[in-house]
């Protein structure tokens, strides 16, 4: 039976949340095609992550363990995964479209003599063929793409294309196979330094499950505090449309939209955001969108799941109280 190999990304012993989405994708494709799904984790001393992954419904989990994989670097990761893929010959290798994958996937594909369909948003079964969908022209068009070559095929999925919580747990823990790799030290051309977070980039909105986002309707800088209180009450992150960040009322790394971040939280609360297309493209993947705006014609309402026409300054304070009450 052809198999799908999902590459789980981990950092310092923790799986990246997007990996669950990729496992869900693998499980869905496998169900449609009648294939099996396996997963692989690469790193150093990663038994813990492998164990966590093995709880999912998978035929097997490979722990690609090597001291050379302690800190991410593209040469070592590509070499290690190449060895695994050559040995196991999966039909399809699935990866989340993360920064790390973007870095090493082209190298890995070239070394295998295969191509990658990158940044896919979905798939379908067209007859016996597996077809991937990817966006073009900043999301204006979608293109269907399929592999013309023999496997192993490589594909990456965009953040938010599948639901991580839909990744099925297995009836029993999947077997874990340690896959030893030897990496030629001479082939590793760069030495990663210590991990650090750039102070200004402290938030990763793409990982937030709840986002409270403010637009021009917030009127004044001092009112940002109100939105922050709502975000805190909900346990979410605060974000904004461009004018707010342009004014310097919130830092630029909190900007959502075509010139900021693209997010797909479970809940997106838009306060006083009119919903120009430039903003919409950054958040339309949210599971639920609640919009509060005093203009009933605001385009945001076209995509909102819950539309509240009214003055946010009347609505938000009692909302915060209600949330606090409900939570306590």
């Amino acid at each position: 039976m052809p198999s799908i190999l999902v590459i789980v990304e981990q950092q310092q012993g923790k799986p990246n949340r997007v990996s669950w989405e990729t496992i869900a994708a693998g499980q869905a494709i496998a169900a449609d095609m009648g294939w099996s799904v396996e997963a692989a984790v690469a790193g150093n001393a990663i038994a813990g992550v492998a164990g966590e992954v093995a709880a999912k419904k998978l035929a097997k989990v490979y722990a690609v363990d090597s001291p050379s994989l302690d800190r991410y670097n593209p040469d070592a990761f590509a070499a290690a995964l190449k060895q695994l893929i050559v040995a196991k010959q999966p039909m399809l290798v699935l990866m989340p479209h993360t920064y790390q994958v973007r870095d090493f996937a082209p190298k890995l594909a070239t070394q295998l003599g295969r191509c990658v369909i990158s940044d896919c948003t979905g798939y379908k079964k067209g007859g016996e063929k597996l077809v991937f969908t990817r966006q073009m022209f900043q999301g204006k068009f979608s293109a269907d793409v399929s592999f013309g070559s023999d496997g192993p095929w490589l594909a990456t999925f965009q953040n938010g294309s599948f639901r991580g919580d839909k990744a099925e747990d297995g009836a029993a823990t999947a077997p874990i196979e340690t896959f030893p790799v030897t990496i030629d030290a001479a082939a590793v051309r760069n030495q990663p330094e210590e991990w650090f977070k750039e102070a200004k980039q402290a938030v990763d909105l793409t990982q937030a499950e709840i986002i409270v986002s403010v637009g021009r309707g917030i009127k004044e800088q001092k009112n940002i505090e109100l939105a922050q209180q709502l975000a805190t009450a909900l346990g979410g992150e605060i974000a904004a449309s461009r004018p707010i960040c342009d004014n310097g009322w919130l830092p630029m790394d909190r900007q959502i939209g075509s010139s900021g971040q693209t997010v797909s939280p479970k809940l997106y609360l838009a306060l006083g955001i009119s919903g120009a297309i430039q903003h919409i493209v950054g958040m339309k993947g949210a599971r639920a969108i609640v919009a509060i705006n005093k203009d009933s014609e605001a385009p945001i309402f076209e995509i909102a799941d819950i539309a509240v026409v009214g003055n946010l300054f009347d609505i938000v304070p009692p909302l915060i109280e209600e949330i606090k009450t409900a939570k306590s």
Binding site: E220, Q221, R242, P243, D246, S259, I277, Q278, V281
Partner: protein
């Protein structure tokens, strides 16, 4: 608080010697580079002992990729290309040869087709092209010829030694909103060049500095401009044939404004549709993007577009002034080509071939400067002389008074045009004067509050999302992107004028004429007055990252206090396929 881009002082910049630096990789710049390469190849074949190198010839292009900032209709008169690359048709990206043309006059709801197409608008033998694709292809030729194209690098300043131009400085990268260096700061390069060829396109920013510094336009008519706002549409089959050309005059403009529309049929049922509005209208509330939307609502056009889909958007200014508006074209160390100089035939609505030809003549002259080792005005002065002996002059001389004839409106323009037709382009006077278009803008209190006959051209377009679009939706389809954390590149020299004078006198026309929603008047909350006073105090605010580099603000601002300077290289619209 708005902070504007200005050169970073007191830093050392890497220097690079160059033979020729061509600023701008459009039709003029690329034609110049290609011709220069051909001349060097010929020279080296004849003089193998004293070869010239192409290694130190550079083209600077501020777009991330060649052609991304190029916008035009476009129809190509192949004359210059046939001289540059005979037989180019076999390999160049051409949409279609013009097979059918018509001129329609639109009234509010009706239209009639002119029984004969006026000779200047007869386009048989011309090609419908995407200027983006065409220039991209020229860029590949230039690179294959061994000339380096620096994409993502803008010319930010000219370097002078006294009265001599000695090079170009490229843009500093990695400057934050406050004009401070970021961790990725990279200073611009000082390219010390024997010859600088300015090919920046309409209202070039370096050309503007240069013309003003040396007063190069002292003997010229003021340059006049229009702004073309364009959409690409994908239509159901059978509406507009590939190679079909339709021009319209009239609605939605009144007889007071200059302008008109084009529709060019390309391949695969994609059409180029756009409206040029003369930047010499009088009502400051007029919005050229709105004009295009109103135009599409005309039954004749709406029917044509029904069921179609708008796929791309863009805007660009174009110089109308013609022969009398050309500045002095060369001096010590520099030559000015293409739209930067104003090589455009406004009667034919064509300038690409003239831009290319001017670039080719500049190449010939630059080549001689390299061979002679002299790039002073003595040698480079041959460039304007040769332009005067070429078919550029022949073509522009016939229409030297054309656009000026329209300064008093459509009917006067028609009368002058007819007179000029029978007097070999002369008309009533040997040299018709012209006025800078912004001078015609009137104060709000001199205009009807409801806009009068122009009411449907004023203010924001609403957009139904199918046939018509609001500005932000249109803008989205321009693919415009800039590094956000950088100072504003629309340098307003005195924002007090915007906030106190202009708001009363003209009602901030920048918020209307800008086709990209860069300029906005926002309620001023910083002073604390906004909330309390009855009339909210407004101040100018810039969405600089929206800018599509059309230069309309620099041209049309009634106080002439806006200088458009290049933002960090690589930013701007993405006119792929336009």
């Amino acid at each position: 608080m708005l902070i504007f881009r200005k050169p970073i002082e007191g830093i050392e910049r890497p220097e690079m010697p160059a033979d020729v630096v061509i600023v701008g990789g459009g039709p003029a710049g690329m034609a110049c580079a290609l011709r220069l390469s051909q001349l060097i190849d010929e020279h080296n074949a004849i003089h193998p002992d004293s070869p010239l190198s192409k290694e130190n010839i550079y083209v600077l292009e501020k777009a991330r990729e060649v052609g991304q900032h190029c916008l035009s209709g476009a129809l190509l008169d192949p004359r210059a290309m046939r001289e540059l690359l005979p037989g180019f048709e076999t390999e160049a990206p051409i949409e279609a040869e013009v097979s059918k043309e018509a001129v329609h006059y639109l009234t509010q709801t009706g239209q009639f087709k002119l029984p004969i197409t006026p000779p200047p608008l007869q386009d048989h033998g011309n090609y419908v092209i995407s200027i983006n694709r065409f220039v991209k292809w020229m860029g590949e030729k230039v690179e294959a010829a061994g000339i380096t194209v620096f994409t993502g690098f803008a010319g930010s300043e000219l370097l002078y030694d006294g009265d001599r131009v000695i090079g170009v400085r490229t843009d500093d990268k990695g400057i934050d909103k406050q004009n401070q260096k970021k961790s990725n700061f990279e200073p611009g390069y000082d390219l010390k060049a024997k010859v600088v060829v300015l090919a920046e396109g309409s209202r070039g920013s370096l050309t503007k500095q240069l013309v003003s510094k040396f007063d190069l336009a002292r003997d010229s008519n003021p340059q006049t401009y229009g702004v073309g706002v364009k959409e690409l549409w994908e239509l159901p089959p059978g509406r507009v044939a590939a190679g079909e050309v339709i021009y319209t005059m009239g609605y939605p403009l009144t007889t007071k404004e200059y302008g008109g529309a084009w529709i060019y049929g390309g391949k695969d049922n994609v059409i180029s549709l756009g409206f040029v509005t003369g930047l010499d209208y009088s009502d400051p509330r007029l919005d050229p993007q709105r004009v295009l939307q109103e135009f599409k609502k005309h039954p004749f056009i709406a029917k044509m577009l029904e069921g179609g889909k708008m796929i791309r958007y863009g805007a660009k200014s174009l110089p109308y002034g013609g022969w009398w508006a050309l500045p002095a074209l060369a001096g010590d160390g520099f030559m000015i080509t293409g739209d930067s100089a104003g090589f455009l035939n406004s009667a034919r609505l064509k300038g690409i071939h003239l831009a290319m030809k001017s670039g080719m003549i500049a190449a010939q002259t630059a080549f001689e400067a390299l061979v002679k080792g002299d790039s002073s005005e003595k040698t480079l002065g041959l460039y304007p002389k040769r332009v005067g002996q070429s078919w550029i002059k022949e073509e522009l001389w016939k229409v030297r008074n054309f656009h000026q004839g329209f300064e008093k409106g459509f009917y006067a323009g028609l009368a002058h045009t007819m007179l000029q037709q029978v007097t070999f382009g002369r008309g009533l006077y040997a040299r018709y004067p012209s006025h800078a278009g912004y001078e015609r803008m009137q104060h709000l209190d001199a205009l009807p509050a409801n806009g009068g006959a122009e009411a449907n051209l004023l203010g924001d377009a609403k957009g139904d999302g199918k046939l018509t679009f609001d500005k932000l939706t249109d803008l989205y389809h321009s693919g415009t992107k800039h590094e956000e954390d950088q100072p504003a590149h629309l340098v307003i020299h005195d924002t007090n004028i915007c906030n106190t004078r202009c708001v009363k006198e003209f009602g901030n026309p920048c918020t209307h004429f800008c086709p990209a929603n860069v300029y906005e008047m926002v309620e001023d909350t910083s002073s604390g007055q906004g909330a309390s006073s009855e009339v909210p105090v407004k101040r100018i605010s810039l969405n600089a990252a929206n800018c599509v580099h059309c230069k309309t603000c620099d041209i049309m601002d009634p106080y002439q206090i806006i200088d458009w300077v290049p933002p960090e290289g690589g930013g701007g619209p993405n006119y792929d396929g336009m």
